[in-house]
Every structure is written in C-alpha cells, then in structure tokens.
C-alpha cells in the first residue's frame, strides 16, 4: 500500500503457527496496583509482533515479566525460543537463564557498558555462549585463544550487520545516540537469540535513523529468522514493519490483530483518543501522511516518541 509497507512484505519472514511465547492469563501486581491484568497472548515464530499502548499501559512490565526481571503472581509464561525447543516455563527463572534459553533484549533507556569499546560490548554478548574458564584464560590455552578469535570475528560481523564497523574501537559511551541503539541490538544479537525483545528502539532517533532502524529490524527478522517483539510509540514505524500488533491499556489487552485491523479497531481508537465517537477519522495514519508521528498527541493520553520522555516508570 505504501513504500514503507513494501519494506516488510518482500522480506517474506517465514511466519509459522509455531508458538514462541505463550503468555497465559498473566497478572502482575505491585502491592495494590495491578500492572498486568489477565493478559493472554501468543507470539509465533518468525513474526514481528508489536506491543503498543499509551503510557502506563504495562508494556515494559510485560517485557520485564518475559525476561525474568519481574515475577507475575498469576498465570504462566511458556517459552520455546529456538526451532525445536520444547516449551519451558520462564516464571521464577533468573534473567541470565532466560537469556541462555534464547531471549535477548534491549532497554528503553540504553543500557550499554559505556566504558568498554563497541567491539567489547558485542563480545560480552557473544562470549556468554563460550566455554573456556578462568584457568584456561590465565594459561592462554589454545582453545581459549581460538574462542577469543571467534568472538572477535563474530563481533565484527555483527557490528558490520548493524553498520558500526567504523566505530568498533570507540568507547560505547562516546557513540552517537542512534549508534548506541544499534550497538545495543548488536550486543543482543551476539547471544544468538531465537527471539529478540526491543523496547522502544526508535525513541529519540531522527527520521533517517528511524528508517535505518526499520530496515535493520526487518533484516533481523527475515535474514536471521529471529522473532521480534517490539514496543514502539512511533506508529509509522510500527505499522510499516509489524506483522501483528497487540494493544495494551491499563494493564489489559484490548486488541490484537494485523496493522489494518488495529487501525480500524474502535476500542483502540477510544483508548488513544479518549473518545467513543466512531465518526472520528482513523487516528492511526499508517502511511504517515497526516502527521509525522502517526498518532496526533491527544488529551494527554499519549505523547509521541519523538518527544521521547514517555514515562514508563509505571507502578513499580
């Protein structure tokens, strides 16, 4: 339908009915505040699934529950990140264990290791899959040296994949903002994930960087066959690359479907605009012709990603 849409479709991601994440009636509370309320959701292998919703809707809480940072009180989350995995419950698992199960993530506020170089950041990710221990390292054993060479080579590959080869030896903290976003993705990819969780990857980036990012996400999905779970406020970006969308509001799932379905969904429109009047023009402009940011900023329900200060502190 539009040029941006065409980026995603020829990618022909091998979507299947194979479930990656099976989120089953999950409820997460902080004291008396319910952050996620009976959320059920299936993510399929090979798809780009976007989670959208106004601020405080529970998107990041959902991410943190999926990666073992929060432990929901009710419900169950099963994970089969890589092809052929049998589903495992992630509830009660430590973050690094879930990571080893094949889940990589990035953070809404960038969390790199700023005093390490870009290359070292990616190497840290790659090396969590290596075997050589401290004694082998101290003695400089041949297999440890081989692993070291391999991790360097793989890190360079990933840096070139995200377009940061030139900055490999810069300190991560000294990179430009958009570069840091991409470096974080490279570090996540270094752990060889089956599914990658991207928390507002486009926040604070300029339009050109957003286009690059959309392209990068579709490449991750189509070339590497990695399922992508995406939180993003930039509707133009979301509508252009996501295969399916899930809408959260006040901790509850209010809609699920393809971008076209979501754009027409009256409940979603109501959530974003705070009105039930269905005569309103569809606020979500997939082609981005009406407003650059997709959804017009309306009645305090939502601030666009470009303002960037969306407060995801939630109830925690």
């Amino acid at each position: 339908m539009t040029a941006v849409h065409d980026v995603a479709n020829p990618g022909a991601a091998p979507q299947t009915r194979d479930v990656v994440y099976d989120i089953d009636h999950v409820t997460l509370r902080f004291g008396g505040v319910t952050s996620l309320n009976d959320v059920s959701l299936k993510m399929y292998r090979g798809e780009i699934l976007a989670v959208i919703g106004p601020n405080g809707a529970g998107k990041t809480s959902l991410f943190n529950s999926l990666t073992g940072v929060y432990h929901p009180q009710e419900g169950n989350i099963n994970l089969a990140a890589r092809v052929g995995d049998s589903p495992v419950s992630v509830l009660g698992q430590k973050t690094h264990v879930i990571n080893h199960l094949g889940v990589a993530r990035t953070f809404q506020n960038i969390r790199l290791f700023p005093a390490l170089t870009a290359l070292e950041n990616v190497k840290v990710g790659v090396e969590t899959r290596q075997k050589a221990g401290p004694i082998a390292a101290m003695l400089g054993m041949p297999w440890q040296r081989r692993e070291e060479r391999e991790s360097t080579a793989r890190a360079y590959e990933l840096l070139s994949f995200v377009g940061l080869t030139e900055r490999a030896n810069e300190l991560a903290g000294s990179l430009a903002y958009g570069e840091q976003r991409r470096l974080e993705i490279a570090r996540a990819l270094g752990t060889d994930p089956g599914v990658i969780l991207l928390d507002e990857p486009a926040a604070g980036t300029n339009p050109a960087e957003k286009r690059d990012l959309a392209d990068l996400i579709t490449r991750i999905n189509s070339e590497d066959g990695i399922s992508v779970l995406l939180i993003e406020h930039d509707m133009k970006l979301v509508m252009s690359i996501a295969h399916r969308l899930v809408v959260l509001n006040f901790g509850e799932k209010i809609a699920e479907g393809t971008p076209e379905e979501i754009q027409k969904d009256p409940v979603v429109i109501a959530a974003y605009l705070g009105t039930t009047d269905e005569d309103d023009a569809a606020p979500v402009q997939a082609d981005g012709t009406a407003t650059a940011d997709g959804i017009p900023p309306a009645r305090g329900a939502h601030r666009s990603a470009n303002e960037g200060d969306a407060n995801e502190g939630e109830q925690s």
Binding site: L28, Y70, N109, L112, T117, E120, N169, A188, G204, G308
Partner: protein, 751 residues
C-alpha cells in the same frame, strides 16, 4: 559595606590561605611543649621568624588561585612540567635525602654535608667548591630561574644556557657526592647525588624542550610517543649506555675495609690472588669489550630495526650478564675465604658497580629483544593484511603509549630495577622491600581483582591472608594440631593447598553474601575478617594456638634432585622468591583481564542489570572474582608465614585490610600496574618518612598525600582506562539527546 568586604571572595580566600599557612607552621617542627612550658610548640610555630616563610607560602597560594586564569596559558607551554618535576626532584634531594651515610657528616643531609665539606681540606677542589658558599643552592636557583624565564619570554638562547647548566649541575652534584664518599672511605648507600643528577637532567630536558619547541602548547604524550616510536629499543640503549658508563668508569666494584675500588682498582687488588682466570680477564679487559660490543650491537639493531642483530644483542647481553655475575661471585668468594672485612659470603661487600653493570647488560639485552620481537609482528601484519581488522587489538586495556614495543621498554626498565637495585640497598631497605613492599604489592594485586575489576568492596581481605598463613603453619607442623605425616610439607609445597583452601573460603564467604551490594557487602566482609582473626585468637579446640600464634614455621626450600636451595635469613633471597611469585601472578592476571571473564567483570561493574540480560551469570562471575582474589592473598600468606617464621592473630588486624583497599584505590582501581604502584608507594612512604618527620606525624603526612591524590587524581596513580572512562561519565557528555530519554524503567526495584 563592611559585611560586603568580609564576604568578598578574595578576602575569604586570603583568610583561608593565611589559616593554611598557620596550620602548616604548626604541623612542621616541634609539636609538643614540655612539662614546664606547654606553649613552647605554639610559640615556636607562630612567633619565631620562620613564620614568615609560611606566610609567604600562603600568599603565593593566594596569588596562584587568584591569578590562575592568567597563569594557565603559560602552564601549557612546552617544558613546564619537566621543569617543575626537575626542580622538585633536586629540591627533594637537597632537603630530604642523605648525601652521606657516614657519622662524621652530621645527619647526612645536604646542608649538613655541605657545611662539613666546605671546611675540609684535602677534598677534591671542585667538590669543595660545590659545597661551599651555598653554591649548590645557587646553582639550582639559577638553572631553574633561567629555565622558567626562557619559558616565560620564549627566548631560545636562554633555554640553551639553562640546558647546559642543567647537565653541568647534575654531573657536578653527582661527582661532588662521589668525592665526599671517596674522601670518607666508608660504605655508602646514600642516594642524594644520584637523585640530584636525575633532577638536573630533567631540568636540562625541560630547557631543551623549550629551546626546540615548535608550538605554544606542550603535548608530552605525543612527544614521548614520537621518542619511543623513532627507533624501538633506543631509549633502552641510551639508558644502558648511561648506567654502563657509570658502572665501568666510576662506580665501586668492591669495597672491603672501607676502600672504594672501581673496576680498574679491583684488577690490581685481585692480581695474583688466585681469582679464576675468566673472572680476572673480565676485570682486566673482557668486561669493557663485552660492554662496548653489546652496546654497539644493540644500538645498531635499534637503529637499523634489524631482527637478527637484535637477537645477537640479546644473546651478547645475556652472556655478559652471566659473566658479570660469575666475576662477582668469584671476587666475593675469594674475599670471604681470605677473611676480608665484611665479606662473609657470595655477593657480600660489593659496591653498586657490578650490579649496575648487570643492569646495563640486562637493559641492552632488553633493547635487542624489543627490536627482535617487534620485527616478527610487523612481518605478520604484512603477511595477512586482509585479516587486519579482526586481528587488531581493540580493547580498552591497551593503555598508555601507542608506539610499538613501548610497554616492553617500560617493562625492562622496571625489571632491571627490581632485579639489580635491591642488592645495593641497605639491609634496612632490603627488609622493607620484602616484608612491606613486596608482600603488600602481592596483596594489592589480589584485591584489585575483587575491588578493581569486579567492583566489589571487600574490607576483610586480610582474612584470606590469615587463612593462607595458618594453612602453611598447619601443613608444616607448626601448630599444636598436627597434620597427618603424609601431609607434612615444606612451605613452597603448601602453596597449592593454600590456594585451594582460600578458593573454598572465598566461595564460602561469597555464596551467601554476593547478593548484597555495595555498602552491605563491605560490612559483611568486614565482619568476616574479624571472625577469622578472633577465631584464631580464641583457639577453638586448640587448633590455632590462640594469641601465642604459631612459631617455628620453616623457611622455604627447594630440593629437586641435584638442585637444592634453602632460604635463610637473607632478605635478598626472599625478595627474588617474591619477585618470581609476583611476576607469575601478574602474567596470569594480565591474560585474565583481557579474557571474557575480565570483560564480564567490567560489564557487571558498569551495569549489572544489562549484564544479566546479556546472559552473564552475575553470581558466578562475582564468586570467581572473590575466589581468585582470595587465592592470591593465600599465596602471600604462605610467603609471609615461611619468611617470618612465626605468626599470630595480631598480624591480621582490620587495619591491614583497610590499608590494602587504600593501596588499590590510591594506585588506580582496576589497573594492575596501578595497584602495584599504589602498594609500593604507600608502603615505601612511611619508611622513608621515618627519617624525615617526627614519628607521631608520620600517619598525618601519609594521610595528606592520599588526600591530595584523591582530590587531584581521583582515578589513581596509574588509572585504568576502563575506570577512567567510567569516572568521566562519557555516556552523559556525548549526546545532548540522551537527556530526553526517561531514566527510570522500574528495573532497579523488584516485585
């Protein structure tokens, strides 16, 4: 507007500076009254004429602070820093250091020696001139003043004059001290003249930098890089030349019965006395020939960047070094057999000459090695240019100077000092070197793993040292609780057991406590340290022998077939054992720091949440840091127990734990050379200050040094690159957009 006047910043600043001057005046000198006169110290500080000196210091500080913006442009000019360093070095040598060890020279400091020497007939006239009429001080003032003036008005001619004066002054000072030593004819370990020579040469270098300056802004690092990159190994060749010339021409090779014999003198002394022929030939001509040959080969190899010549130089240097040692051994063995005064065994009663020759040969061989190995790397790089990006070293550990081989240059200089300086030091300093400096350097290396690399504050580190010591005592049978006979070991064999037990202790402490962070962990480790000490003190089940401790722990010994070596009372022997241990640990830890574990530690230290999300098992990685640090401490414990022979719980008090933390922080957290330098400096300083300040003031001066360090160089003496980047907070300054992103994600709080 009276209030306005007093609240003016200048008035406040002036008042502050004056207060500082009075406090300084009270600090320096006598601080106690007598029973009859309690106000003595106060009156001495405030009313005696010397208060003027302190007020002048206060005014200078005030002026410097007030006019700082006008001063800074000058401070950036080439030559300023070496000028300051050189001036301070000479000043230190003429105020703090001894110029003579002999009792006849008063307290042996410069002024005391000078006043005595100026009135002594028969002293070499040039030396007498140097010491008389404050000429030493005038020379310093003139050289420094000319150098400063040359920088101020950018006058090259003046700078040249200052450079020449610097060289002349240095040589004059050094030879004057030598003349005094020769005149007195007693063994002499004083360092004043040597340090003054270094200071004057630095002043000369500063003047030279001014004379040859092309720009208005100094870039010392770039200059040193150019110097190191010009011809790899050449700095070592120059150093070898200087040290070698001093050794072969001027220094003492043998000093029995108060005589100071240079190399030529020893030849006549040992002629026809039954010295082995090779050693005699060395004294007669072989030494000189070897020196010149090695020097020329090393210089040629460096200049031409010739690998094979480099290997030849290294080989020549090694052979010459060996011959020097053999000659030394023969000389002292012969003297000991003949009952020459003071020569009781091998390598006793030598001057510094033979050791300086060894150092020169070592450094020249090092220059050869630098050239030889450098060539190999270049060739590899040319062979596989396609793989260049992947092979490039690109981590944040390659610190310091970028010129190829420069780290090796520093390494050889440090090794040469560590190997060949201690034998020429006094017995006191040898003891300090082993039981203070060396052991704490080893401990600091261990704690650096925990505090510096993994970022965990451990205030009970000395507990592992205690565990290592008590393990040794147990295994050598020095405790009331005896080991089974098959486990009765010599101390060196106890090392693996101590490592194993400290690993276990580290894991045992770490496993339940490492979920704590920051302050909480610090308190728990502090408690652990006290538990270990008090347990040893309370002697449960009569295992540790309570406050009496363990005694009769045997000295280390090696008996491997024909090789047999037993350590005795000589501190020098322990120093070389310690040096071997330190070198091994440093080699292993350098690799560790550059490995995936080193990066994982850095990752955890910077962002634990992100590290977990990247798949790092933070608990395991932290435990490893704890265990590895603890086992290093255990090795130090084994060494300590077997060197000193007796231990008791008082050796392992909390204060020692805190000192080791201070050493690591002072040196530079996370930096291996930094932690070592920090420990070395802060253990050396109290011993050095023993001569300089009243005993009660010693800790205060050390505190002042630490305080100043933390204010002006918070990342430490030799900061780690990674840590320095963290302190600067690069991620904040890099991009204005970052501020537009929410800080809180709720990740720090758990449901």
């Amino acid at each position: 507007m009276k209030t306005g006047f007093f609240s003016s910043p200048h008035v406040k600043r002036l008042a502050g500076c004056m207060a500082l001057a009075f406090v300084l005046a009270l600090m320096i000198g006598n601080q106690e009254g007598s029973q009859d006169d309690y106000g003595l110290a106060f009156r001495q500080a405030i009313f005696s004429p010397r208060i003027i000196l302190f007020i002048v210091i206060g005014l200078l500080v005030f002026a410097a602070m007030t006019f700082w913006p006008y001063i800074t442009p000058y401070l950036l000019r080439p030559g300023v820093r070496p000028l300051a360093v050189g001036g301070i070095t000479v000043l230190v040598s003429q105020t703090l250091l001894k110029w003579s060890d002999d009792g006849r020279t008063g307290n042996g400091k410069f002024n005391s020696v000078a006043s005595k020497a100026a009135n002594t007939d028969g002293l070499a006239p040039m030396a007498k001139l140097f010491f008389s009429n404050y000429l030493g001080w005038i020379l310093l003032l003139v050289t420094f003043g000319l150098g400063a003036a040359a920088i101020l008005i950018s006058l090259r001619a003046l700078a040249w004059v200052a450079a020449v004066l610097g060289v002349v002054g240095g040589i004059w000072a050094y030879t004057s001290q030598a003349a005094v030593r020769d005149f007195l004819g007693t063994p002499d370990h004083s360092t004043g003249g040597g340090v003054a020579l270094i200071g004057y040469l630095t002043l000369a270098a500063a003047a030279l930098a001014t004379a040859l300056a092309t720009g208005d802004i100094a870039d010392t690092r770039a200059f040193v890089n150019r110097l190191l990159a010009w011809r790899p190994g050449m700095p070592l060749v120059v150093l070898g030349l200087i040290v070698g010339v001093i050794a072969f021409v001027q220094a003492t090779w043998f000093s029995p019965q108060g005589s100071n014999q240079t190399l030529t003198d020893t030849k006549t002394f040992f002629q026809g006395n039954g010295l082995a022929n090779l050693a005699y030939q060395y004294l007669a001509w072989l030494g000189y020939v070897l020196f010149i040959a090695t020097l020329l080969t090393a210089a040629a190899a460096s200049y031409l960047r010739h690998r094979i010549l480099g290997w030849v130089a290294a080989g020549l240097g090694a052979v010459a070094l060996l011959l020097s040692l053999i000659t030394m051994y023969d000389m002292t063995d012969l003297a000991a057999a003949a009952g020459v005064d003071g020569a009781t065994g091998p390598w006793q009663n030598l001057g510094s000459g033979a050791w300086m020759a060894c150092a020169a040969f070592f450094v020249l061989a090092g220059a050869g090695l630098v050239v030889a190995t450098l060539g190999a790397r270049d060739e590899q790089g040319e062979l596989a240019p396609a793989e260049a990006p992947a092979a490039r070293s690109s981590d944040t550990l390659s610190r310091g100077f970028s010129a190829p081989g420069s780290s090796k240059v520093f390494l050889f200089v440090i090794l040469a000092t560590a190997l060949f300086y201690p034998p020429t030091a006094t017995g006191f300093w040898q003891k300090v070197l082993v039981s203070e400096i060396g052991i704490y350097v080893l401990l600091a290396i261990g704690l650096n793993v925990v505090v510096g690399w993994a970022g965990l504050l451990d205030l009970g580190f000395i507990a592992f040292y205690a565990i290592g010591s008590y393990t040794t005592a147990y295994l050598t049978g020095a405790l009331p609780f005896k080991p089974p006979s098959f486990l009765h070991l010599s101390p060196l064999l106890a090392i693996p057991f101590a490592i194993a037990i400290c690993l276990l202790a580290g894991v045992a402490l770490g496993a339940p406590t490492l979920r704590l962070r920051g302050d909480y962990l610090a308190i728990v480790t502090l408690g652990f340290g006290e538990i270990i000490r008090i347990t040893a003190n309370n002697n449960p089940g009569n295992i540790t022998n309570g406050p009496k401790g363990a005694f009769g722990i045997p000295h280390p010994r090696i008996e491997l077939g024909p090789i047999k070596f037993v350590w005795g009372q000589n501190n020098l022997q322990y120093w070389y054992l310690l040096l071997v241990l330190i070198v091994i640990v440093v080699l292993l830890f350098r690799r560790l720091e550059a490995s995936r574990l080193g990066r994982a530690w850095a990752a955890i230290r910077e962002d634990e949440v992100a590290a977990q999300a990247t798949g790092i098992n933070t608990t395991r990685v932290k435990l490893l840091a704890f265990a590895i640090g603890a086992s290093t401490s255990g090795v130090a414990g084994v060494f300590f127990a077997s060197q000193i022979g007796y231990i008791n719980p008082e050796n392992f008090v909390l204060n020692n734990s805190i000192l080791v933390v201070a050493y690591v922080v002072f040196g530079g957290m996370g930096s291996l050379p930094g932690a070592m330098a920090g420990a070395a400096v802060l253990t050396w300083l109290p011993e050095f200050l023993k001569d300089q300040v009243p005993a009660e003031d010693r800790q205060m001066w050390i505190g002042a040094v630490v305080l100043l360090m933390m204010i002006f160089r918070p990342a430490g003496l030799i900061p780690a690159k990674r840590r320095a980047a963290e302190l600067r907070g690069l991620n904040r300054s890099s991009s204005a957009e970052v501020g537009a992103v929410p800080e809180g994600e709720g990740m720090g709080v758990r449901a």
